[in-house]
Assembly symmetry: C2
Homo-oligomer: 227 residues x 2
């Protein structure tokens, strides 16, 4: 693979597709690579979305399978935990029952692992920037501790220092909510109808899980009628 | 796998074997797991050593293959870069030629990736502690930026915060040199003759690479005649 300027952590969902559009605009499709990581999720359909969108933008897509890392996890997002239901309520509701613990869809230290993986690969490609689509709704209190500001700051430092000052994380949406992310994407002409978010493994979005609700709301707020 | 108390990042070398001995002493072999990660290294012989030593201690060994993560790296430790020579001189000598850059045996952000992987797995096993055999000789100036104190501190914070305050890294040797690590291991009865360090892929240690020199010196200082 040719050297790159930017590597985008890319799930095929709303936020990371918007981040990909920004990277391509700034560095060009040739100098941007996207990284999609399988982790044993029920919604492997997002990988198919990622392939189509990378193709649409003409960027190289790297696919990694880290599902073995989570083989002992009881997280409800994972295929191996088929019987574990994915909650159909808001994070606020979910947190009432967890006693300060992460929610059942927290994948153990997933974001730390994904950012570290991106750092290793970015260094090999001589890229300087990792685009990371985290935004302010993600943290949702203690629901996802690997989305908190204190985690993000520490991980940024670890990657900058541990890479010999070669790699920086750019999280352009970290102070924005999802509506603002979509507003930016609309300006950039992001093909949101190609993205996939739903946590369930179905052929169509369920429309009821936390992530289906979030995206629907952000689309409607921007005049987009997409499920 | 049953739940554990401690997960040891375990290469089968001198430092991590000493860390394993400490964890087993504190938590017992049943409550300790060891994690060995392949990354495409020429010296895959260290994995064989890791298996034998885990068996000796009666601890479960998890093996992960992350070599795909480094497929674009030019690091001289990797099998795919067969023609890249592993330097036969001290780190001080090597650094004279790198102009402040990491040495050719720096594997891109490897330690960050390994610690993040250990955090994901430790959470799944409900372990509380990751043992990490880093010591004060490792950093060697700018040779390995992912061994620096500022990196270690940031990564510790990222893992503690990103795990919802569930996981801590214990690096008992971080202020010790390798001689002191071996001195501790001698007290614990560590079977150092079973460990493997050499970076070359040979059947016997080469005796000339940086890591062969380091271990030989630490052994001799403790009265052990092991190559």
């Amino acid at each position: 693979m040719d050297n790159k300027k930017a590597l985008v952590l890319f799930s095929g969902g709303v936020d990371s597709t918007t981040a990909l559009a920004m990277a391509v605009k700034k560095y060009g499709a040739d100098k941007t690579a996207a990284l999609s990581i399988s982790y044993g999720q029920k919604h492997s359909k997002e990988i198919e979305a990622a392939r189509k969108i990378a193709d649409y933008y003409g960027t190289e897509l790297l696919e990694l399978d880290l599902s073995k890392m989570f083989e002992y996890s009881s997280c409800s997002l994972l295929k191996q935990n088929e019987d574990a239901d994915i909650p159909k309520e808001s994070y606020e509701e979910q947190l009432k029952d967890t006693d300060g613990e992460p929610v059942s869809t927290y994948v153990p230290f997933r974001n730390g692992l994904f950012l570290a993986s991106a750092a290793s690969i970015a260094l090999s490609l001589e890229a300087e920037i990792i685009y990371y689509g985290a935004h302010s709704d993600d943290a949702a209190g203690s629901a996802y501790p690997d989305c908190s500001k204190v985690f993000n700051d520490a991980m940024n430092t670890a990657i900058y220092e541990g890479s010999g000052h070669k790699i920086k994380i750019l999280a352009p949406f970290v102070e924005w909510n999802k509506k603002q992310v979509v507003a930016e994407g609309v300006k950039l002409g992001v093909p949101y109808e190609m993205t996939w978010s739903c946590y369930e493994g179905g052929d169509e979005p369920c429309g009821e899980c936390g992530t289906c609700r979030d995206r629907r709301e952000a689309f409607l707020a921007n005049g987009l009628d997409i499920k």
